[in-house]
Symmetry: D2
Subunit: 295 residues, 4 copies
Amino acid sequence: MHIGIIGLGKMGANMRARLQANGIEVTGFDQNPDVSDVAGVNELIETLPTPRLVWIMVPAGAVTDAVIAELATVLSSGDLVIDGGNSRFTDDFAHSALLATVGVHYIDAGVSGGVWGLTNGFGLMVGGSADQVERAMPVFDALRPAGPRDESFVHAGAVGAGHYAKMVHNGIEYALMQSYAEGYELLEKRDDLIADVPGVFKAWQRGTVVRSWLLELLVRALEEDPELANIEGFVEDSGEGRWTIEEAISNAVPVPTISAAIFARFVSRQDDSPAMKAVAALRNQFGGHAVKTAD
Amino acid sequence: MHIGIIGLGKMGANMRARLQANGIEVTGFDQNPDVSDVAGVNELIETLPTPRLVWIMVPAGAVTDAVIAELATVLSSGDLVIDGGNSRFTDDFAHSALLATVGVHYIDAGVSGGVWGLTNGFGLMVGGSADQVERAMPVFDALRPAGPRDESFVHAGAVGAGHYAKMVHNGIEYALMQSYAEGYELLEKRDDLIADVPGVFKAWQRGTVVRSWLLELLVRALEEDPELANIEGFVEDSGEGRWTIEEAISNAVPVPTISAAIFARFVSRQDDSPAMKAVAALRNQFGGHAVKTAD
Amino acid sequence: MHIGIIGLGKMGANMRARLQANGIEVTGFDQNPDVSDVAGVNELIETLPTPRLVWIMVPAGAVTDAVIAELATVLSSGDLVIDGGNSRFTDDFAHSALLATVGVHYIDAGVSGGVWGLTNGFGLMVGGSADQVERAMPVFDALRPAGPRDESFVHAGAVGAGHYAKMVHNGIEYALMQSYAEGYELLEKRDDLIADVPGVFKAWQRGTVVRSWLLELLVRALEEDPELANIEGFVEDSGEGRWTIEEAISNAVPVPTISAAIFARFVSRQDDSPAMKAVAALRNQFGGHAVKTAD
Amino acid sequence: MHIGIIGLGKMGANMRARLQANGIEVTGFDQNPDVSDVAGVNELIETLPTPRLVWIMVPAGAVTDAVIAELATVLSSGDLVIDGGNSRFTDDFAHSALLATVGVHYIDAGVSGGVWGLTNGFGLMVGGSADQVERAMPVFDALRPAGPRDESFVHAGAVGAGHYAKMVHNGIEYALMQSYAEGYELLEKRDDLIADVPGVFKAWQRGTVVRSWLLELLVRALEEDPELANIEGFVEDSGEGRWTIEEAISNAVPVPTISAAIFARFVSRQDDSPAMKAVAALRNQFGGHAVKTAD
């Protein structure tokens, strides 16, 4: 099998490498000529056998929109496009519909695994028609970890289902990270009692209810920097966590831990909190409580 | 009527002034001789007509414990002690029992109103027996605002009920303040759209669903400092908010807004968040996401 | 001044009545002929003196879109449309742009006050150009409560600012209601200690920090039904609370109390919680904890 | 090595079995004669070689207090008591001090693993002096899973540290479970899009960021009952989650996800929510919104 990849950033490059290591021929295109196999999308398309299989791995939103739009002009009926990026599932409907006008098939693939995917394999959640998913299965099998297929791959439903599942996955991920982080702070705050905070996390890796891959990563982080002294509590967020909240709101699903995780990130990025300035001002007004004046 | 007050800090002094302005004779004792009417508790007790009425207005916890213990040795059967401080309601049971051993009655009085109480009057929630509450009514009537008694005073129940009600009052207060503060931040963040943030709050004072005294105080704060430029988003918390959470936990009452308000204050006082350092470390581990290094 | 109102539901009818009581001539149109003054929009338009002033008070979203679209075909250059409904502020941009193509001016007006607005007056937050706001000021003055204009009216900014401010107002309102409700449950749960729960709320109306109009309404509700025995804990939500969360997410504003209030409403409407079924299933898996089986 | 166990409930019996399987001689006592090896504590003590090693596995609180008090009267100087139950870490200080008065040593051991511990081994977090921990190491090694000791065992600090770490472990556990549960509801709500909800969870087991033991348990639960149709969303909570919140409050640690998880359990057990009755009553008061009347 021979596949084209558009987008050879950190994730795309790792996927190319894993596909090649598992016997899939790959031609990749990236705006950065240093990493690109071909000079442009047209050359990529010409290189691929028909019917073609093109995997997109570019930033969600405008960039993905543009790539899909370009592909709709250069691909042929019967080709298949897989969007493996972090697109919002609602975008899949438009992308799929646009490509369908020229007879091109579409699969949305949520991909998890981060930088570890190259060696561990990537967890995959895909949406699309059964026959197209079957057609691309050699690619999915090459990307996913060893072991039973259904433990690292799911055909979650029709177009959009893959990215929806990935969005939910990321919402859960945010909340899981915040859960461990609150536990870390509870342990760290009582360093008068807990003599070995990293050791506690390390000891949770076998036998306990909280063992997980994220826990293992936290153990690694604490081995490198036992007091996290070299890291600032400043945390970005990507779109998927936000979309999760928006979908929750749209579907009347209460998501108190996922939203708490997002809000904690928002706060982490503030130099000063307008809200807490307002609370401080209120306390000062009714109670004569002292306020800290800004410098 | 002639009452003794122990504790002439900001609240105690204001209460003495309001009582005197409303025809109650007051003798006050404070550790600070500059504000005290008498040299010590013994002199205070001797000054008061029997059966005596003593109002305590000192810090909750150890200080109140000590004052109650001392009063138990100097007061006589039939005297009445009112704890108007911010004691935890569970302390009232011990205080009441100790005083009862020497025949001294006890009322717990939750007092709201802050620095405005002197002129506006104080809202009062009391716990104790009906006859003792009736006996102290002239004092309560002098302290509370003008208007119908039941709109500023409640005999909430037996001993402890007054401070329990005050504790809940303060828990609500925390959540109300946080509610307005979140609204403030939502308006302030869109200063591209909202040309007059203070004006919006000002306009909510009549006719809207959110009108309240706290809103009026926020309007005042914004008139003094329209962008809250001179105030830092650093907010202390007193014990009552924490007790509210603990009681909620004990009674299996979900209190998501009250706890959110407390947690926001905790975060406001952190230079850096250990929890968010842990989240940043985790993101870095799995995604290779850049972290901000501490200086 | 003579104004047309489209939409004579609960709010629209009350506004017509208040405008008329304050000397504004009103012609109203509603789909329901029993309450309508005219047979249709065309007749309404013909009735009004030019340049016309039309106030829209219909459900946000598709209905408002349709009314605006119709008005764009029948109004003339120089006319002014005010959308007083609960439209999303982002809709205002499209509505304003559409009307501008035919020279018709636009103001968005957030209106608060509920069923009490008829007698108390309505709190108003408007967005638009200064000259159009000035032009409509007699209408705003007739609708708002007596007292200083800036305590019940604000020209918050350009088009969209009125509905944005109203959206934030409603977000705050949700959180305020939840705050009092948590306090209610904390008092109610300890009815062994608190002998008079309604009395506690009643006593908070003067002098306390938590006094507000919502508190007064809760006092009224508890006077009618002291144990809320005749009311179910089932709470709908309108769009504005949801939009508030979405805007908060878009602008990276942490809103833990507002979101908690929304989520509590979502939960209140569930017969059984899928999430809690999952938690129960998990506990059963790892701990052998008994589960309640569904009937 | 020969150890006595007091308490042969689900956990104690499993621990006895695992210890015996790993070459530790065990004599167990339980109030239930059907499972007990001896008739009483005195007989248990007489059976053990000196200096003795007694493991307590009874309900935290009053029962553990009573067992410790009894042991203080029958054990001899140099004996060692290990409390493996879910005691609050603050209880350890009193238990340790009481036993020290008769020269008996004390270790607190937090134990995780649930019903799976028998076959998988138990994760262990202990507090106490280095020499006593060393002395009991054969017992810990027999209980914990195979693999490196520091991945399933930690000497977390002095007395109390073991149960503190276990308390935090359980707090994290609550939040992790809630995180997955919210994700479950988000998937389940969109069954129009997600054709295979159990399949999504199953596919997350390899390669994804959210893989964990709890995820595996959820997969098992969904294999047994794909729609969780036979389980009610009613979730108990044990003391440790509550203590986690209380410690967080005491130490000013924000724990929004852990508290959200606890509150969700509280709500899950309510037939009707007093708080939401209050919100419904408020909405009815200001907006004339319909309420659902209780039957």
